[in-house]
């Protein structure tokens, strides 16, 4: 079923663009970045580490590393701020700080976007048009909540929890920071946040933004380091609430750590979303959605539509269109405004994707990869589609967290639902059909926290996001998201 034209070398492709790179200088990159504790940038007493550009493997900057005592210091600063300034402050005043932060993110949006792309490897068009504006929107939305918590459905004067320890992943560095910090602050908590060790830079620029906003010292503390520092924060005795976004494996470890402590926990973990295409779906629109669902952000998305469930009668047609569309994706320099798929975030992640994709082949699935040329340096993985996938295969069960799509087929709607739900995860799903009643039926049957119908990967601060089952618990966004940071 392979179209030989699709495997032709790209030189003759009609999809060649001239380079259109965004200016790297906009990132205002510095040689050194320091952590932010109690309103000051400090060196930290742990080992400094290097953040690299995954698209070039070049060193971007040296970042100070935290030690256990730095975590203590940050938690103590957060505690003091909670008790003395932020906790007693009227919500209407907290709101204005959050509005300031939202505005500053917008003002420095281009700088943050370029820096995010350099540090993370994601295409500039995504950091510029999705990550950064949505982060600002998150602060805007939650600013308005700060003085309206009495109306959030938890009775009058719901109380904050205290000090929130927050650990976030590398896939949407600033956006995940916003998802964590904005509701925490709006509800009156103070925070100690650790960004991922491969993507710490925008979080440290965010610390500058807190400074520019005049945020009282200790309200936001950013400590930098690897997983061991995250574990210190999570297990710290003086942290009242823990919020984690990351792998299910680490999430389970955190839940075990907090067992019996009485501390509030929210987890946003992995996923293996089904994207279901029924035979009456608008097929070109569905192909676009499927491509966006899995190749957005190189597939480094917990809610990525990594399992395509397509009705058997249209499978061949859809697969043909899908391969043809995927082979037009521009893979390469993340700073290039034409780039659709950027760099894999790290060598480790590239190795994990490569290993899991190889099991797809060895377990008998049919592998097809875009014939796109890949840059010689940097961590890149060609968009890959596996067909003839069985539910028992690892690529159908495990989260790849990369640009790898597994295609399975179904005959009846009931079979589609059964296959979609055949996973311990339950974060998201997609449904493609022109039939309204079928959309609503499927949306009811799917056991997942977010269902996108005839669209995919939509996020908004007003729309609660979070998982069922082993995709975690608690919601982020909307009124439901406030519960994670209130003592209710």
């Amino acid at each position: 079923m392979t179209d030989p034209a699709l495997d032709a070398p790209r030189s003759g492709s009609p999809w060649q663009y001239s380079p259109a790179p965004e200016a790297r200088e906009l990132a205002d990159l510095k040689a050194n970045y320091r952590m932010f504790v109690d309103g000051e940038f400090i060196d930290g007493t742990g080992e400094p580490f290097i953040s690299t550009n995954p698209a070039t493997e070049e060193t971007l900057a040296e970042v100070s590393g935290a030690s256990e005592s730095d975590v203590d210091r940050a938690v103590a600063a957060a505690r003091a701020a909670f008790e003395r300034t932020w906790g007693p402050m009227p919500g209407s005043e907290r709101a204005k700080y959050l509005f300031r932060i939202a505005r500053l993110i917008q003002e420095r949006g281009r700088e943050l976007a370029v820096l995010e792309t350099l540090d993370n490897g994601k295409p500039i068009k995504e950091s510029r048009d999705a990550d950064i504006p949505t982060a600002a929107a998150h602060f805007f939305h939650h600013a308005g909540w700060a003085d309206k918590l009495d109306h959030a459905g938890h009775g009058a004067h719901p109380r904050p929890l205290g000090v929130a320890g927050q650990v976030i992943p590398w896939n949407f560095p600033l956006l995940m920071l916003a998802w964590k910090i904005a509701p925490a602050l709006a509800c009156g908590n103070t925070v100690v946040l650790k960004p991922a060790e491969t993507t710490p830079l925008t979080a440290l620029v965010f610390a500058e933004i807190c400074e520019q906003a005049g945020l009282p010292a200790g309200v936001v503390n950013i400590v930098t380091g690897a997983g061991d520092i995250g574990a210190e924060i999570v297990a710290h005795d003086d942290v009242d609430k823990v919020a984690f976004t990351g792998s299910t494996e680490v999430g389970k470890r955190i839940q075990r750590t907090l067992a019996g402590s009485g501390r509030k926990l929210t987890l946003e973990l992995g996923g293996k979303a089904a994207n279901i295409v029924f035979d009456d779906a608008p097929i070109d629109q569905a192909v676009e959605g499927v491509v966006n669902g899995i190749f957005f952000n190189q597939g480094h998305v917990c809610c990525a539509g990594s399992r395509l469930l397509v009705q058997e009668s249209i499978a061949e047609e859809l697969l043909g269109k899908l391969r043809s569309r995927v082979s037009t994706l521009q893979v390469g320099d993340p700073l290039d405004k034409n780039t659709d798929v950027g760099a894999i975030n790290s060598a480790d992640q590239l190795a994990r994707i490569t290993e899991l994709a190889d099991t797809g082949e060895s377990e008998g699935a049919r592998r097809w990869s875009s014939p796109c040329p890949l840059p010689e340096r940097g961590f890149f993985f060609a968009p890959t589609v596996f067909s003839e996938v069985q539910q028992s295969m690892r690529i159908a069960r495990e989260e790849v967290f990369g640009p790898v799509l597994s295609v399975l087929t179904f005959r009846t709607p009931e079979e589609a639902i059964a296959k979609a739900n055949n996973t311990p995860y339950g974060l998201s799903a997609g449904v493609w059909t022109e039939k309204g009643s079928r959309i609503l039926w499927a949306a009811q049957q799917i056991r997942a926290g977010v269902v996108w119908a005839n669209t995919f990967n939509r996020f908004d601060p007003t729309a609660p996001f979070g998982g069922y089952q082993e995709s975690g618990f608690g919601r982020e966004g909307g009124r439901a998201g406030l519960e994670a940071y209130l003592d209710v």
């Binding site: 389970k252 996108w452 007003t462 609660p464």
Partner: protein
Amino acid sequence: MTSDSGIPGSERPGEPTRGHTDAPARLGVTKTYKLYIGGAFPRSESGRVHPVHDSHGEFLANAARASRKDVRDAVAAARKAFGGWSSATAYNRGQVLFRVAEVMEGRRAQFVAEVAAAEGVSTGTAESTVNATIDRMVWYAGWTDKLAAVLGAANPVAGPYFSFSVPEPTGVVGILAPQQSSLLGLVSVVAPVLAAGNTCVVVSSTERPLPAITLAEVLATSDLPGGVANLLTGDAAELAPWLASHADVNALDPSGVPDSLRAEIERSSAGTVKRVLDVRPGEQDWTREPDIRRLREFTEIKTVWHPVGM
């Protein structure tokens, strides 16, 4: 045993009560208390029982002592019943739960006697406990068709999409019922789980299980589909770890778990990222009017998006 225990029919064989004549009075028929799994009343597969005494130490009955395998059977029954109960209309679920209250009202005298015997309280106190229990069931029955309106939302997203969020039941909930409050506490933890559309496996109070079994008889005759609520009697400390580690249990209410076991239960719940209700050590005051926390904690918010356009 004399009829002081107040439980109708609880007189033991060999101890006939006497009337005014010389002829022996009628001998009461005693009941074998069993488990409630999948709509049926089996004995424990283990064959084990444990003697139940009233607050004065008088023997009341032998209750079944459920085993790990009974837990597994009950979870399987709850899972099987989940599809039907969770997709029943909220109106229907509300009527069924209201029906439970109606049938409880009919068995009021029996509940009063059992609560008085189990908890060692006066008949007057037991009466007000049973009243509160029935009223609580009515309160939760009325929530079924309001929860989505209160917890859900139409999300005003910044784009051409209609986005809405609704609460959905979490799934199969394991409930360790309170140890002290044998009926009011039990209904206070079971009713919200059912009202929210979940199915459940309930382990009753270890020492005070008889009102729970009577409640199971009420559930069995109240149009509640078999398997929606499953009730086990036995040792909560023995059974809780099996519920906590069971991969097909989605959430846990550890109210009746001994404080010393809480941490261990929460640790093993992490194996499948179970939601574990945060309950304070010790037993709470069940006479206090509840809020919607227990309804909320056993639901998941689902957000659905669709484009808007011509």
